[in-house]
């Protein structure tokens, strides 16, 4: 492995740890806090998630502005950014399905994966089902829906 590859891997590990620690500090590992935000009629609405997303976007915007002035990333030849701009039925249906699942249990992928290291059984069950859902989508469902397009 070249030095640059190794450096990139180190940066990825650091970014992952920062992300996991940030989620832990933010309180968003706790499904009760997430539901407390999503359930707007509970009478004890918890706005925390807004501060988390707001803080993250506030920091990411200048980062994106910087990235747009760079010809290439520090440790790679080119940027690897999503190219798709389509707002289609797949995007909206998929996101809505994700939202329903998020609202049911209060888990989204980041916090659920990070919380695996805390060793709680329900988290393992959730991540197991999520992985099954991903494999189900990338296998049979993707084949079915691509036929229809």
């Amino acid at each position: 492995m070249s030095g640059q590859n190794l450096a990139r891997l180190g940066v990825t590990l650091l970014a992952g740890a920062l992300f996991g620690f940030g989620l832990s500090l933010s309180g968003m590992l706790d499904p009760a806090r997430v539901i407390g935000f999503l359930d707007v009629a509970s009478g004890q609405w918890d706005p925390s998630l807004m501060f988390v997303l707001g803080g993250a976007v506030m920091v990411a915007i200048p980062g994106v502005m910087l990235q747009r002035r760079m010809a290439r990333p520090v440790l790679d030849e080119q940027f690897h950014l999503p190219q798709s701009t389509a707002i289609d039925r797949r995007l909206l249906t998929g996101s809505a399905l994700f939202g329903v699942g998020w609202g049911v249990a209060g888990f989204c992928p980041g916090p659920a994966v990070a919380a695996l290291s805390m060793g709680l059984v329900p988290v393992f069950v959730f991540v197991g089902a999520m992985v099954a859902g991903m494999l189900l989508h990338d296998g049979p469902i993707a084949r079915l829906t691509s036929k229809g397009r």
Binding site: L9, V11, L13, A15, G16, A17, L18, F19, G20, G22, L25, S26, M28, L29, D30, P31, A41, L49, F51, V52, L53, G55, A56, M58, V59, A60, V64, M70, P73, V74, L75, H80, P82, R90, L91, T93, S95, V100, G101, W102, G103, V104, F107, G110, A112, V113, A114, A115, L116, S117, P122, V123, V125, F126, A129, M130, G133, M134, I141, T145
Partner: protein
């Protein structure tokens, strides 16, 4: 307001992580994408490194504050399984989740990600609020 400092600072750290990955490695910190690619055997070392880092997060929290992050899981077993399946299928079909669409998509002012975020926020609020009436 003071109650929300950890949330704001935690959120800002998510931003720092996303910017680090974007500016240094040229990649998007999207967790569902990272997990999905790992499952598909794509760029395994990089995606595995991010997941390992993610797992270290709660342990770092424990070593700094002498306690693990709080977690209260109220959902029943069938609800947890259903939620996991929906989150897995939905994030792959919608090409992203709260991190990729929510944080980076919004910061990049991507109309596609803004639409996705509006969709999952609306669905999440509708679901949790409806379920709240039965709690």
């Amino acid at each position: 307001m003071t109650t929300y400092w950890p949330s704001l600072i935690g959120g800002m750290l998510l931003g720092v992580s996303a910017v680090l990955l974007l500016v240094v490695n040229g990649r998007i910190a999207g967790i569902s994408g990272i997990v999905g690619r790992l499952l598909g055997g794509q760029q395994v070392p990089a995606n595995a490194a991010f997941v390992v880092g993610l797992l270290l997060g709660p342990l770092l929290h424990a070593s700094l504050f002498s306690r693990l992050p709080a977690m209260t899981i109220a959902a029943s077993w069938p609800a947890i399984v259903l939620a996991g399946l929906l989150v897995g299928i939905g994030t792959r079909m919608g090409s992203g989740c709260t991190s990729g669409h929510g944080i980076l998509g919004l910061a990049r002012f991507s109309p596609r990600s803004i639409a996705a975020t509006a969709s999952f926020l609306a669905a999440g609020i509708l679901t949790a609020t409806t379920m709240g009436f039965f709690r």
